[in-house]
Symmetry: C2
Subunit: 215 residues, 2 copies
């Protein structure tokens, strides 16, 4: 059974998954890189960016769940590029010629364009579709592997609300952003359908996992 | 130096300190007792309610910080009673003849009334005052001891925004209330003035402490 998983999605203490004022120079708006510093410190990230060292503890263990068993990703338009990217025919995402996805990657957008094949196994497909329709396409592309929902907050919330998330890993970072896009809005009672675990890391972040209960 | 402290203030994962629909029969509205079950399981709570047993681990260690060194409490009108309590001249709080405060306790209200002396050292005083004014009165009553800010969420937020909180202990409970009163609204950048620590408990809650940095 192919599962739908979210990994390494960072939230501020006050529940924002990204800041305000997103732009080409500020992909996370006024949040800057503060939501992701815990990740940059891990050995996994150091390796991926060609550097030695990095932590090998709890944060690294969690962050490494990103890749294994994943056969496709679905992301929102707001993750693929800054506001207005669809007006730039040359825009191919933030990640350079070899993006870190290495699978078919479905971008939800009201402005579909032809697929783009990148290096390293990532192919971007553009879909104007509901969460359920996008998941059907991604599952077919993933074979018997799992589908990762890559964010941002709005897309993850939409997939949760549609009952389509099996495993959700959220990383609560001890900062207060005050404004931006909230993850948890409108999800009252979600815990009834999930096993929830929280574990604090010496780095200061707290890893939350919500795993759907099998009925 | 007398400090201003918050202890055992419970929040849902989505940041609500209480639910919606507060009434005499539902002091926390639709949240019910779910925000405080972690506390009811502790030995401290069992002792206070005359029962044997109770947990002796992390939750109990934290919950016991409530009393020592505290010389006065300040609470909001919404903690003292249900909406409209000021129209009931007999209302003396939720806690029976011997409330758990055992110190002078200042209730912020736009409808002040004469002070009420209870058993066990609690005297309720009613003040129509700003956070700073209330703190001045409470400090005088507390002598050289600390002042506890007892909640609810709005009052704690007002004291934080006024720069009047030295130590804040928040307990994040893994439920999504969806609606109610949020603690963290409008506090962008708060972490710059506080040392923040998070530690998850085997019970499922996560204890957060924010301690003001001495400059």
């Amino acid at each position: 059974m192919s599962l739908t998983r979210v990994h390494n999605f960072s939230l501020s203490l006050d529940g924002f998954g990204t800041g305000e004022g997103l732009s080409r120079d500020a992909p996370f708006g006024h949040a800057g890189e503060r939501l992701h510093e815990w990740m940059f410190a891990t050995r996994w990230w150091h390796r991926m960016t060609g550097r030695p060292g990095g932590t090998r503890g709890l944060d690294d263990v969690f962050v490494r769940q990103f890749t294994p068993g994943i056969g496709a990703e679905i992301m929102g338009a707001g993750k693929f590029g800054p506001p207005g990217w669809h007006e730039d025919p040359q825009w191919k995402g933030w990640w350079g010629p070899n993006p870190p996805f290495h699978t078919p990657t479905f971008v939800l957008t009201h402005h579909p364009r032809p697929s783009i094949e990148m290096e390293g196994g990532t192919t971007f497909h553009f879909l104007d579709a509901s969460p359920a329709e996008a998941l059907e396409a991604a599952r077919e592309a993933a074979g018997d592997q799992d589908v990762r929902i890559g964010g941002g907050a709005t897309v993850i919330r939409d997939f949760i609300a549609a009952g389509l998330i099996d495993h959700l890993h959220v990383v609560v970072v001890p900062i207060l952003l005050g404004r931006g896009v909230r993850l948890w809005d409108g999800l009252e009672g979600l815990e009834k359908n999930y096993e929830v675990e929280a574990i604090s890391s010496p780095s200061g972040v707290t890893h939350l996992t919500l795993t759907r209960m099998v009925l």
